[in-house]
Symmetry: C2
Subunit: 146 residues, 2 copies
Amino acid sequence: MLVQNQGKNTEALGKVLLKEKGLKQTQLRIELIKHFNSAMHAQSYTDLKQAMVKDVDKSTLYRNLATFEEVGLIHSINDHSGVTKYAKGASPNSGQSHAHFVCDSCETVYCMKGKSELKYEVPQGFTPRNVQTIIRGNCAHCESSR
Amino acid sequence: MLVQNQGKNTEALGKVLLKEKGLKQTQLRIELIKHFNSAMHAQSYTDLKQAMVKDVDKSTLYRNLATFEEVGLIHSINDHSGVTKYAKGASPNSGQSHAHFVCDSCETVYCMKGKSELKYEVPQGFTPRNVQTIIRGNCAHCESSR
DNA sequence: TTTTATAATGCAACTTAGTTGCATTTGCAA
DNA sequence: TTGCAAATGCAACTAAGTTGCATTATAAAA
Ligand SMILES: [Mn+2]
Ligand SMILES: [Mn+2]
Ligand SMILES: [Zn+2]
Ligand SMILES: [Zn+2]
């Protein structure tokens, strides 16, 4: 019964989160939050579009992603692929943040645990505020299937 | 006379570089190399287009940037802006690389000296190969004019 | 429960960055 | 000097994301 309830529980959690942020609880938003909670890696627009039960409009989805990012429900990641990806948790706009692992083989983006520390040498006059780290290599899945 | 010759010297250097890489010495390529050598920060397509004496075609410029990157004359940088920027020097595709500083105020991208070391903890099974670091903050220019 | 105001959605048209196919031109080696 | 592969220019295309606006749904008030 714990397992059966899990879906409903995360749905309830999503609703609470939306209320906290002052956002209306639409079907799409609840499903999005649920999806972000269970996703093992960062999601592209296409990933999300395909994961949604009902067909979602492009602008609606992008607008919700923008809104979610603004209120700190998700953060976005830009690897070198031209496709933005999104994952659960606030944007690391100020101070520390976690690193992202981008698989060279499957292009999947993973959020890493821990935080990248801000200890880089910058030239005189420059004021660093935040560091974004992208680690490239092979993910566990691609590495094992070689 | 040293100063007067500088233009010609870097031009000659560019020609040598192109020959080394097996690329034909066109006016645009020579001018591009000269420009990259004197640029104090990473250059967008628009920056480069405007810097060229003659009007350059979009595809020609982009194709040259791709070629230059392939042969290691330049590397490209993706900040969070959607506009790729380019700077002198080989792409840090394998092993270590330098960090990039992106100014939050003027969006200028600077190549930092030194190399980012590969000392991140990744999950079991993941094989890191290379790290890309973007430092955000204010550049010396924007910081001084506040 | 019904009404109402506001926020969210859907659709189409647009933008921006970059790419591709192809005919023409140019650099350079023979 | 000539021949040819490589480079260029043009136009048309693509992919990702954005914008304006009319319609619809959510949530609070009545
Ligand atoms: Mn992340
Ligand atoms: Mn650089
Ligand atoms: Zn992979
Ligand atoms: Zn600046």
